[in-house]
Amino acid sequence: MTLKDWHYRGQEGPSTLDNDGVVAHFNVPPREAWHILSLWVEATASDTVATRAIRLIVRDLDDDTIMEIAPGVTYTASQQRDFLFAPGAPDLTAARDSDLIMTPIPAGMILPPGWDITIVEQSSGDTTDSDILLTQLMYASINVMSTGVATQQSSDQIANTSTDLS
């Protein structure tokens, strides 16, 4: 496989929440970079009373947060809602047709090796009972030479060095 070809792929995420209210944990493997094209979420809330707010989070190799994106709509007990995160999507603050929420993400959302993208149930979700989030990630993948374990650059450091082979 050559280094310069983009390959278009899809992945289905795990449907259960972990103890941190995290689902859809997608990891960029070593020697790959991903361009995020869309993330689809089908959320089904249990009957536990609470307002659910989901959030897309990107973290780097050190688990530092690189970005967070929140949809403009929450949902409550026993409701089913679908969420589309995609470049160019409108930013809806009310569900369309009562169940669909679209949220824009940056067009150039490139994730280097070792970074991850997750959907987090931000507030008061039901992680002990039966909230369900089905997720589908669409992305373009390219092979790169970097393993993703290089030390992150700081802002007062010259970016180009002889060891910078990525």
Partner: protein, 172 residues
């Protein structure tokens, strides 16, 4: 390294303010061009009075302002708030989930050698008065960008609009 290829990178910015209440100062080094993909800022304010107003500012080699993008929400005292500046992000006038503010940027934000990107904060608390309630504001920043090597060192004089762009010495 050959020119003409984009390399995807990230940098964490400094957390402390300088005398101009500037933090997150990112400098494009000589012989590189950056395309800004996103800038994430986690801002925490002290109890010192003042609504903090964040603004992304890009300056050229002569320190002239080339672009400013202002967040639609200010940060009150004693509050943690997160900001995402990115092309394609919505332009929010109220924090979402009470703590997340997104601001849209131009899509083709190409930044030349020697230019810099920073976040300036109006009404920031930058004075360390060393008591329990008023230390200094803090901001953690993460820049994601694509970098391309170029032949220009970035120290030529800027072209004016009445000057032809293509000359024998224009090798960048």
């Amino acid at each position: 390294m050959p020119t003409g290829q984009w390399h995807y990178r990230s940098q964490e910015g400094p957390e402390v303010f300088n005398a101009d209440t500037v933090t997150a100062l990112f400098n494009v080094p000589p012989r590189e061009v950056w395309q800004l993909l996103s800038l994430w800022a986690e801002y925490s304010t002290t109890a010192t009075a003042g609504a903090r107003a964040l603004r992304l500012v890009i300056r050229d080699l002569a320190d002239d302002v080339v672009l400013e993008a202002s967040a639609g929400v200010t940060v009150p005292i004693s509050t943690d708030m997160d900001f995402l500046f990115a092309p394609g992000a919505p332009d929010l006038a109220a924090a979402r989930d009470s703590d997340l503010v997104m601001i849209s940027l131009p899509t083709g934000l190409l930044i030349q050698p020697g230019w810099d990107i920073n976040i300036e904060v109006g009404n920031a608390d930058t004075v360390d008065d060393s008591d329990a309630t008023s230390d200094i504001d803090s901001m953690v920043t993460q820049l994601v960008y694509a970098s391309m090597n170029v032949m220009s060192s970035g120290n030529e004089a800027a072209q004016s609009s009445d000057q032809p762009a293509n000359t024998d010495s224009d090798l960048s």
